[in-house]
């Protein structure tokens, strides 16, 4: 049976602010969503895209505190960083992989509008972030793009 609250995630790449922004409406109060992000026993259950619980989930949820999430499906897949701002239940800011992550939770009716922003600091870094973050299938896409370059130059001439 499909989950009751399955809904689409909006994904916008805003080059002007070098930010990737995801917006998702959730059927839970902001405090509950905030807990799901800031308590290891909860985060470990959902962070890995495969759905498998994390092999390790350590977090020191204080400004300057660090976190390390290790995937059980791929032990090399480690997400680590440092918390910057903790304002329950509406805002969480952290630095990871050279980018700033911002979690913004706004009450919407009985639920929460969750906005996750990945601010890469510069447009060049945004491209790099996407390149690194998108490992699966990217090589082929880039190969396609490379093949397409001469054609583009020809049209531009």
């Amino acid at each position: 049976m499909p989950p009751a609250f399955q809904s689409a995630t909006d994904c916008v790449i805003d080059r002007a602010s070098h930010t990737i922004r995801f917006v998702r409406d959730l059927d839970a109060a902001p405090a509950q969503v905030f807990d799901a992000w800031t308590k290891p026993e909860h985060l470990a259950c959902w962070w890995d895209a495969t759905g498998a619980p994390l092999a390790s989930c350590e977090m020191d949820v204080r400004p300057g505190g660090s976190f390390t999430f290790v995937s059980s499906s791929n032990p090399d897949h480690v997400f680590s960083g440092v918390y910057q701002t903790i304002e329950p239940p509406h805002r969480l800011v952290f630095h990871a992989n050279g980018a700033e992550g911002r979690l913004i939770l706004d009450r919407q009716g009985d639920g929460t509008r969750m906005t996750v922003e990945i601010d890469c600091g510069s447009a060049a870094h945004l491209d790099h972030y996407l390149e690194v973050g998108v490992d699966k299938g990217t090589a082929q896409t880039l190969a396609n793009l490379e093949a397409y370059l001469p054609e583009l130059e020809a049209t531009a001439a």
Partner: protein, 113 residues
């Protein structure tokens, strides 16, 4: 591998990072259109629209049609697909993560602290 090797990816994302240009792409998704036809729904002059079209053309997202007189523009689906392919695995990973989160929230007791 350096991202500098793929300058047109930069052009594609940059071209798509503007609401007017996205609206133009949306209009062209319905079929080819001339500059005059594209300018109509917007409060912009034809030269302004032409400038936007130039950005889209440079990114390879659109091209001029065969009719030299009217120069109708149309989408280059290959380029659109390349941009989408590039983002898709990244988007899918987060979408999956958020699906997991939505499911997990149903297992948390409301008001649990």
């Amino acid at each position: 591998m350096a991202i500098e090797s793929y300058p047109q990816l930069d052009l594609i994302f940059s071209a798509m990072g503007d609401p007017t240009r996205r609206a133009i792409l949306g209009r062209l998704a319905l079929g080819e259109a001339t500059v005059a036809e594209l300018a109509q729904p917007f409060a912009f002059s034809q030269p302004t629209i032409s400038r936007h079209l130039k950005v889209l053309e440079r990114a390879g997202l659109i091209e001029g049609g065969r009719d030299a007189q009217r120069r109708p523009r149309r989408l280059r689906l290959e380029a659109m697909k390349q941009a989408a392919d590039f983002i898709e695995p990244f988007r899918r990973e987060w979408e999956q993560r958020f699906d997991n989160l939505a499911n997990h929230l149903t297992t948390m007791k409301p008001g649990e602290k």
